[in-house]
């Protein structure tokens, strides 16, 4: 099998600025703004829209040839002014692109100059206070969309978090999960009665109700006032296995304000959910609410009811590294062998983290590959002959070509309905995933059976 190839063919990742724009949509009254060509903003908008099915306005400084040669300062300032005029944001989440990064625009300096304009008497757009401007460096030739996501949130706490007396407050950095996951997180924390800051929170801004008029900035998102308090929190829980301290918002808060950072995999599966709920019990000094005990009980029951259908089925799981780690651990605990754990990301930690969670990783013959594309994954699939494919919509072509039953999770889901309402986290999210996996296997068995059993 050829593995060393130069070109990326059917990428299993997206670019840095997309993640930043998504994360910025989780801040209240924030407009994402891309410093670069118009196309970057438009492509990213259309890509996010096809998953979330919500209007997603991303401004652009719209470089032209002159801008590329002489610098983006003028365009950026004009763009900020226009966005402020039209959207009246409290926050502008500014992310860079390969273009503005490569010409070496000093965005922080430009922002300072922009602010100075108004301090020196230029009338404010709308006559209102200037929005807070958060700048994340997200060149598309570095990392992938998930790096942009974390970079935006790190820049956010670096800009806004304040020092102060410690509060009974928990920060949650949930990673790139679905709006349904975010809502579930909020429900859990409320049930534990723990004051919290969830960052980002696009559960409403990207999955809201109908409008009577155009909401230039949809309601919802983490308020700036609470983001300020992240520096005074008693701890941060961060769902990530591969995010290093330097790039992590929780890491930043720990380093700068001594807010303890609890890093853990996404709570998918019983073991990881137990770890998460256990930590909440410890931090809140409250027992697990009965509701979740019930959910756990039902899940254990379901595991028993469904185990035979899936035992020792082989699955390929792919996507962002953190999702792959958590999913693989879950699959292992229900008896499925994730024969290939693959990601387009390349933190260098994927295998290590999987080994920690799956002690028999090598023994079970589980392959781990990072920095791969779909041609790599397909090459592996031809040999591994998996029973299931688990990941985002981008695996559909492969699933169709090789006739592998396919379960869509994560982002993007653009060939199915309701990707934004899909739950992955906690006992409840695991239950939904488990049911879907078992049913996929049953459906396959049913449709490929010569008899067509109507009763399983």
């Amino acid at each position: 099998m050829k593995t060393a190839k130069t070109a990326t063919q059917n990428a299993c990742k997206l670019c840095n600025p997309l993640g930043a724009c998504l994360a910025f949509r989780g801040i209240e009254k924030c407009v994402p703004f891309l410093h670069g060509s118009q196309g970057c903003a438009t492509y990213i908008r259309r890509y996010l829209i096809s998953h979330f099915k919500e209007p997603i306005d991303i401004a652009s400084s719209n470089f032209n040839e002159d801008t590329a040669v002489f610098g983006g300062s003028h365009n950026l300032k004009l763009g900020l002014k226009n966005v402020t005029q039209q959207y009246r944001p409290e926050v502008i989440g500014l992310a860079t692109t390969c273009l503005s990064e490569t010409i070496g625009d000093d965005v922080d300096m430009i922002l300072k100059e922009y602010v100075n304009l108004f301090e020196n008497g230029e009338p404010l757009p709308n006559g209102e206070p200037l929005p807070v401007m958060i700048h994340a460096s997200t060149p598309s030739y570095q990392g992938s969309h998930i790096d942009g996501f974390h970079a935006a949130m790190k820049a956010t706490v670096a800009k806004l978090a304040e020092e102060g007396p410690k509060k009974n407050l928990l920060n949650i950095f949930p990673n790139m999960v679905s709006p349904a996951d975010l809502r579930h997180m909020k429900e859990i924390l409320k049930d534990f009665n723990i004051p919290f800051v969830l960052l980002p929170d696009y559960s409403e801004t990207l999955d809201g109700g109908p409008w009577a008029e155009y909401h230039r900035i949809p309601k919802g998102g983490t308020p700036v006032s609470t983001i300020k308090e992240t520096g005074m929190a008693s701890g941060s829980i961060e769902f990530s296995s591969v995010l290093n301290t330097e790039k992590s918002p929780a890491g930043y808060l720990e380093k700068t304000f001594a807010v303890p950072r609890y890093q853990m995999p996404m709570p998918i599966g019983i073991k990881q959910s137990d770890a998460f709920f256990g930590l909440l019990e410890k931090l809140s000094e409250k027992p697990l609410p009965e509701k979740y005990e019930d959910e756990r009980r039902r899940l254990v029951d379901a595991y028993a009811d469904g185990h035979k259908y899936i035992f020792e089925k082989k699955a390929i799981v792919y996507g962002e590294e953190d999702l792959v780690v958590a999913m693989a651990a879950f699959l292992r605990e229900i008896g499925i062998v994730p024969v290939l754990c693959a990601s387009g990301g390349k933190s260098g930690l994927l295998k290590k983290r999987l080994q920690e969670l799956i002690p028999d990783l090598d023994e079970a013959g589980i392959k781990v590959r990072d920095g791969v594309d779909f041609v790599d994954i397909e090459d592996e699939a031809k040999v591994l002959k998996p029973d299931l494919l688990i990941g985002n919509s981008k695996g559909y072509t492969m699933s169709r070509k090789h006739n592998i039953p396919f379960i869509r999770i994560g982002f993007p889901i653009h060939d199915r309905f309701g990707g934004q309402r899909q739950l992955h986290l906690g006992y409840r999210g695991t239950q939904e995933l488990f049911d879907r996996i078992v049913n996929t296997v049953i459906a396959e068995k049913q449709s490929s059976s010569p008899i067509g059993y109507t009763y399983m």
Binding site: A7, N10, S37, I49, G79, N82, V83, P210, Y214
Partner: protein
Amino acid sequence: MEKIGILEGREKQVYEKKGDSAAIDIKCETTSLSGSVSQRACVFCGSRVVLYPVADALHVVHGPIGCAAYTWDIRGAVSSGPELHRLSFSTDLKEMDVIYGGEKKLHQSLTELIAQYQPKAAFIYSTCIIGLIGDDIDAVCKKVSQETGIPVLPVHSEGFKGTKKDGYKAACDSLMKLVGTGSTEGIGKYSINILGEFNLAGEAWIIKKYYEEMGIEVVATMTGDGRVDDIRRSHGASLNIVQCSGSMVKLAKMMEEKYGIPYLRVSYFGIEDMSMALYDVAKHFSDNPAILDAAKKLVNREVSELYPRLQHFRQALEGKKAAIYVGGAFKAFSLIKALNSVGMSVVLAGSQTGNKDDYEGLKEMCEEGTVIVDDSNPVELSKFVLEKEADLLIGGVKERPIAYKLGIGFCDHNHERKIPLAGFVGMYNFILEVYNSVMSPVWQFAPRKGGLS
């Protein structure tokens, strides 16, 4: 409702028709205003969309991963054979490539990909960053072409070097390098090329069948189910038929200049324009009256079958109002006629890339009070559809959620659609889709209709 204003710098891109006397003086064909959340994309997008349907060519995006990832199999341009165009190839540049240049990587990528996929030709798209770091992609393409023996064509589509329209031009320049490199043997006198028809959901097949029924030979459907070998011999055709004029007129003009092939602008949307597209071609070949006879027979047959089927929709849709915001303005003409033919009026007509003539034409066709807009954005579009009380918005993916959030029907009329809307059967599909959306009972719950927000 809070009054939404038009941004300073955009006032002249918005026009409302007031009586016949007021001349339209719309500002257009300029770059988008910074910070205006334009619905437009970039030069790369323009090139990529035009060349996308050449199905047996390798399409390699030279740059960081995003540009290739966002354009991976997102369009409905289908192929009757090879499907190389549905894959996404990128040199996926990293920081070190940006510092030291990406030429070597491009060369290696191309060598490997051509060996692996054996394409008939390769298009190499230059992205923003390539324009900056100055990779000589022409030289790399030339070298690889010599080494592999297939045409390897650079596409100068650096995102920031103009607008989407400039991307169309870059694509036409690349196609022109293929045109004229094949044998024209066996091509008859009554022959055409179909340009600017992207075979979305098989539309080019519908159109091709019509022309063939008229006794006309189709040499190349250039950018719809496109094949490299057909394009290479397309200069043997007698006539070029250009639909999406914004994207392909440049190529038609180049072919006219170099090979003396005249061209016709047509549209395949709606009964009127579709019929015209057939008659115009028949008239061009007036020395063969059988062609016109066949066209008349075809149109007669199709219309008499289609017309009664539309009446049910007309009853429901009569008096409803539509807003149109599309990429190229030329398409808007056809849409207005098509909507009028089922009794609907148009209250907003806008495009991303129209020119003065386009907007003048739209003004002529529209009723008083219609808003005509160039390079609009979500805030303006939502303002207009609400103020004008539109029942329907026609647009693409980025416009769809605007309509749905506000409780307005929507019809996808862009390159991602999976239902053919061209031709007579396409007209039926179009009106059916309009009907399905506008008449759906779900809008009763919209805040605009008294539901809760």
